[in-house]
Symmetry: C2
Subunit: 139 residues, 2 copies
C-alpha cells in the first residue's frame, strides 16, 4: 500500500478526530474552523457558495452558521441586491475564536513535527498547500 491517497486519508481522518477532541474546550468542530477560515481568507456571497467551497450540503452550512452566530462569531446579513441570499460576516469575536482554534492546531503541529525531520515537515506543508489551492481553484 504505497499509495499516497490511502495513507493521506488514514492520517487525515485520525488527525481530524484528534483536532476535534482538542477543540472541545472551544465548543467547536473542525468544520466550524474551516468555515471561519474560508470567511477570513476569501469571504463568500452566499451560504450556497460556502457549501460548494466546503464540499458539504447547504443545510449543514445552516447548522454551522447557527452555532457560530450564537457565539457571536459571525453575523448573517441579507444581501440587499438579492434578499434571498445571506452573507456571513466575520466579527471580531469570530477572529479571536479563529485565532484560538489556530493556536490549538499549532500545538498539534508541534507534536506532529516531533516525529518528522524539519525538511519533511516543510515539504509536507508545501504539498498540502498545493493540493488545497488546487482544490479551491477548480471552478
Amino acid at each position: 500500500m504505497g499509495t499516497v491517497s490511502f495513507r493521506l486519508g488514514l492520517l487525515g481522518v485520525a488527525q481530524d478526530a484528534l483536532y476535534a477532541s482538542r477543540l472541545a474546550d472551544l465548543d467547536l468542530k473542525p468544520k466550524h474552523v474551516a468555515l471561519l477560515c474560508v470567511l477570513r481568507l476569501r469571504g463568500a456571497e452566499s451560504q450556497m457558495e460556502l457549501a460548494g467551497l466546503l464540499g458539504v450540503a447547504p443545510s449543514l452550512i445552516v447548522l454551522l452558521a447557527d452555532h457560530l452566530e450564537e457565539r457571536g462569531a459571525v453575523q448573517r446579513v441579507r444581501d440587499p441586491a438579492d434578499r434571498r441570499r445571506q452573507s456571513l460576516r466575520l466579527t471580531d469575536t469570530g477572529l479571536h475564536l479563529l485565532a484560538a482554534a489556530t493556536e490549538v492546531a499549532a500545538q498539534l503541529d508541534e507534536e506532529l513535527a516531533a516525529g518528522l525531520p524539519p525538511a519533511e515537515h516543510a515539504a509536507l506543508s508545501a504539498a498540502l498547500d498545493h493540493l488545497l489551492n488546487g482544490a479551491l481553484e477548480r471552478p
Copy 2:
C-alpha cells in the same frame, strides 16, 4: 491557517470520502481496506490488538470482520492456546480484494499527482510514511 495538522485533516477527510465512493463497486469501505492492510503487513494475534492498531472500538472490528468473512476475504480461527481469542487470517481472495482496492487507490493517486510537482509528490509520500510508522511504533 498555516498549520499542517488542520490542512492534513481537511484533505484527509475529503480524500477518505472520495476513496469511499470509488470503493463502492467493491462493496468496501476504507476501514475494511485498512484492516486488510494491517493483516497483510504485520498480522495480529487478536481482534483486540487490531482494534488498538486501527484506533477503533473492538465492537467495530467485529462488524468489519463479519463483512470481510462473508466475502471470504478473511477467516476467523480460534487461537488454540487461548480459545477466547480469534485470529483473523487473510485468504487468497482477501489478497485479491486488497489488490483491487489498492488499484483503485493507485488511480486516485494519479489524479492527485496531476496537480502536484513530482518532487513534492515523492516528499509527501515520504512524510506520510514517517508519520504512519511513527504512529504504529508508539506502544
